[in-house]
């Protein structure tokens, strides 16, 4: 779907409503980095406590305490307002970055900053944060809690932060035949010919599992999907028109 993955150093926004699996996907990004790619990481959390994160990760078979003991991970918990303080980023992250030689970072979540920073300054503060990470050679994933009204259109952010990041992954619930399913779509990925389809995913006991696209449905992003008849399939129409000639 990403055609090879995110570019090193690129900032990624992972947006979605509560329960869409942002934390799970973000944790998997760090765990895979540490265990498969020799890239240590930092999980920076504001509301969810580290002991809860350790417990939730264990449900997927991820032993975060072991990764910490092996200096492949650090879970840091603080208040968002600290980041807005002068030298806040340095005070929080210099030591853990050096301890584990971190290359990846997850911020859970950037939307919490809005409680501590005036809306007029939020975009500037997030820009400063992203630039700070890049100067430290970190590849950041920034979680953003996007409110989703069932059946309504979805706005990712209303403070223009979509323009600050290099990539945006959107996780959303879709209602199909009276059941809630989950879809992921790449809204933006600079410099990449990425998959444009909305694809289904599941949160399994092993983590995030990508499935096929919702090929038979349209209107999923509007909240009112409709099933397409075979005749509505564009490629079939084109193919059948070619045969008739």
């Amino acid at each position: 779907m990403l055609k090879g993955g995110f570019m090193t150093g690129d900032s990624v926004m992972l947006a979605g409503a509560a329960g869409t699996g942002k934390t799970t996907l973000a944790l998997e990004y760090l765990v895979n980095g540490a265990t498969l790619f020799n890239e240590a990481g930092i999980y920076l959390t504001f509301e969810q406590m580290p002991d809860q994160i350790f417990r939730d990760a264990a449900a997927f078979g991820w032993d975060l305490k072991k990764l910490e003991a092996e200096n492949k991970l650090r879970v840091i918990c603080t208040s968002p307002g600290i980041l807005a303080e002068e030298e806040g980023l340095e005070a929080l992250l210099s030591e853990p970055i050096n301890e584990v030689k971190a290359r990846r970072i997850v911020v859970d979540s950037v939307s919490h900053l809005s409680m501590y920073v005036p809306e007029s300054d939020l975009r500037k503060e997030v820009f400063r944060l992203i630039r700070g990470f890049k100067m430290k050679h970190l590849s950041p994933i920034l979680l953003w809690e996007a409110p989703q009204v069932i059946g309504g259109a979805l706005a990712i952010t209303d403070v223009g932060m979509s323009f600050l990041v290099d990539s945006i992954l959107l996780l959303k619930f879709v209602e199909i035949e009276s059941s809630m399913r989950r879809g992921v779509v790449i809204m933006k990925m600079r410099g990449s010919d990425h998959d444009k389809r909305l694809r289904e995913y599941e949160i399994t006991s092993q983590g995030f599992k990508l499935k096929a696209s919702f090929g038979q449905y349209e209107g999923l992003m509007t909240g009112t999907p409709t099933k397409m008849s075979p005749a509505q399939n564009f490629s079939e129409v084109v193919t059948s028109a070619g045969r008739k000639k």
Partner: protein, 98 residues
């Protein structure tokens, strides 16, 4: 170094202190201002000031200034040392009572 008995009395002198110790020991990656720490144990900062000061005096918590905010964090080595002292004291009390 304070003796084991005094340490136990001092560490368990209030529910707030027990909550603070539990919070930092279960979340050693926590580094936060007093407001944030207080919120995480369901209290307000003024209510925990005295206990925080005592834990700073004992060296279990450390503090570093960032702008206007004093960040509190667990000093893991000192905490481990104090826990060893407490465990040794409790073991001695246990064997003396037999």
């Amino acid at each position: 170094m304070i003796d084991g008995e005094s340490l136990v009395q001092r560490l368990l002198s209030s529910d707030i202190k027990v909550d603070l110790l539990t919070l930092f020991r279960e979340n050693p990656g926590l580094i936060d201002g007093i407001d944030g720490v207080a919120q995480r144990i369901g209290r307000k900062s003024r209510a925990i000031e005295a206990e925080v000061k005592d834990l700073l005096d004992l060296g279990i918590l450390g503090k570093k200034q960032v702008g206007k905010v004093g960040l509190l964090f667990l000093q893991k080595e000192k905490d481990a040392e104090i826990q060893s002292t407490v465990v040794a004291y409790l073991a001695s009390v246990g064997s003396a009572s037999r």
